[in-house]
């Protein structure tokens, strides 16, 4: 016979009364587990798709001249710019504190050239990073393999009446059209893309870059943070975050997270209230019994131990049941709220969280009833009933 035997027997032989608390707390915990699970699934979903949304940071040289903007691309002083970015700046981006969040760095050199008596913008790019950045590109033909090959936009193809594997003259040099972009609906349609190194030599701008597009793969760290870190590394450049659809989605996500947090808090408060009323009623019901325990020589501490142990056992069960129920519902409900690809693992961290919250709620709500029980005047308690 120990104190815990008293608690266990009390719970076991009065289970209908405690069922209310158990169910209330289980529902509360499962709701929280559902919300957290769904949030997580949605976040994971977004993170997975993040790099499909292209660049979200644009780096251009700081310039006193007015910016030339075209279709969202800002091009500073196309002519001569002493402060132009260069190849070293590209390396520097990879040295910021959040460098593991930098997914793609795509430098570009913008120049203007005459092709068949028409002025066209020629962009020197690193084809590997460019195609990684622009996953939506559909290239008819192939990605250029050497510096004499180029990709042209669909508009260039039309206006200049060019075809695959034909050649064009740029600055007196001959390039073969290795690929043609299917219409993208962006500025890319009107551009000719050649290798960055080739462009630098062709236009006599060795090692210089007009702009750098960066894709930062970070769905929860603030993009502003990365922007600030990059600015620090590149004092001569202007670093800006580009608002894109992903941001709207992330904003929705964050709003959902805040909403979940609020709902969870409310639910837990309700759970705590249920635990509080049930335990208070239980203490009231057991006044006489508590008087007996006290007259027998139990200390106040022993009375609290009995009551806390009951709360602990109930909360523990509720935490476990709530976790399982929440997991089950989340797995079935997550697709309904827009998380398309998802796997919700049975993870121990979440289980511990559910248990922790349940114990915190259940045991926390029992503090007052337990203290009240311990402080009961034993003679008054014995008189009750």
């Amino acid at each position: 016979m120990k104190l815990c035997d008293i608690s266990l027997n009390s719970l076991w032989r009065r289970k209908t009364r405690m069922l209310f608390l158990l169910i209330g707390l289980t529902i509360a915990i499962s709701t929280v587990v559902i919300l957290v699970n769904v949030s997580r699934a949605m976040n994971a979903d977004i993170a997975k798709k993040l790099d499909e949304y292209g660049a979200n940071i644009l780096i251009v040289p700081n310039s006193d001249e007015l910016s030339l903007s075209y279709g969202g691309m800002t091009v500073s002083g196309l002519s001569v710019d002493q402060k132009a970015l260069n190849d070293q700046d590209i390396q520097k981006i990879r040295t910021i504190k959040n460098k593991e969040n930098i997914s793609i760095v795509a430098p570009k050199l913008l120049s203007v050239a005459e092709v068949q008596a028409k002025t066209v913008m020629v962009v020197g790019v690193d084809f590997d990073s460019e195609t990684a950045l622009k996953k939506w590109w559909k290239i008819i033909g192939v990605k250029p393999g050497d510096e004499w090959e180029a990709i042209i936009g669909s508009e260039v193809k039309q206006k200049l009446n060019l075809g695959l594997n034909q050649t064009i003259q740029l600055k007196g040099e001959t390039f073969k059209i290795a690929g043609i972009l299917e219409e993208t609906g962006s500025q890319d349609d009107g551009l000719i893309f050649i290798d960055l190194k080739k462009a630098q030599s062709l236009f006599h701008k060795p090692a210089s870059v007009s702009l750098i597009e960066v894709a930062a793969l970070c769905y929860d760290c603030p993009i502003e943070e990365i922007v600030a870190q990059t600015s620090e590394k590149l004092p001569g450049a202007k670093v800006t975050a580009i608002r894109q659809s992903i941001e709207t989605k992330m904003e929705t996500m964050h709003r959902f997270e805040h909403f979940s947090l609020g709902i969870s808090a409310v639910i837990l408060v309700i759970g705590a209230l249920i635990a509080f009323t049930t335990m208070s009623a239980s203490v009231n019901e057991r006044k006489k019994e508590i008087g007996v325990f006290r007259s027998i020589g139990f200390r106040q501490r022993h009375i609290m131990q009995i009551i806390f142990l009951e709360a602990l056992i109930l909360s523990g069960i509720a935490g476990l049941a709530g976790y399982l129920l929440g997991w089950f519902v989340a797995v079935n409900a997550a697709p309904l709220v827009g998380a398309e690809t998802l796997t919700i693992p049975v993870d121990s961290v979440m289980l511990l969280m559910a248990l922790g919250l349940s114990l915190l709620t259940g045991v926390g709500a029992t503090v007052h009833p337990a203290v009240k029980a311990a402080r009961l005047d034993p003679t008054v308690a014995l008189r009750a009933l």
């Binding site: 032989r13 007996v292 200390r299």
Partner: protein
Amino acid sequence: MNLIYVENLIKEYHSGEESVAAVDNISFSIDLGEFVAVVGPSGSGKSTLLTVLGGLTHPTGGQVVIDEIDVYALTAEQRADFRKEYIGFVFQSFHLIPYLNVLENVMIPLAVVDAPGAEKTEIALGLLEKVSLADKARRLPDELSGGEQERVAIARALVNNPPIILADEPTGNLDSTTSHSIMALFRHLNEEGQSIVMVTHNPENLTYAGRFITLRDGKIAQNSEALKQPLIERIPINN
């Protein structure tokens, strides 16, 4: 040597403006091994006196010294330990814990004692044997008769082997036959050396005691000399 020594004990209850002295400045002492009956009309302060003796109710004034311990000089938690060590309470309405079986009820006081479980069970079973309930050890209280419940309560009061048993009308809820068997049990315990203070309404019960204290309006109206021989042994009661 006095086991219980009470001096100028006062216990007042306050309700609103009025204050009632349930125990009004009384002094007496009880020796080790005595069986004292406390009698008196309803409202005379018997129960109040008993709870004060048992360390449950802080008196308004005066002293309760048990085994040379000034009970109310102790802190509340020390007094709990004191009760565990010195006092076994038996109540009129038994006050068994409904969700514990007979054996567990008897063992409750041992729940805060450090000892192996088997040892505790052995002690409790021994006491159930003594009160002739060993065969009903696994029953719940509400499956027992009133007399059986009272015997469980007595076994529970004895389980810590306390020097003093305080009983408040232990036969108040029982028919006369059962009352006599319970009183015989108390008598038997007293003969084994157990000190007992018992509040009772029933004059018949007096015959089992070795001495009686009569209260009236919180004061001692009569404090009988200790009898050499309990009345019961001189005036046999047929039952």
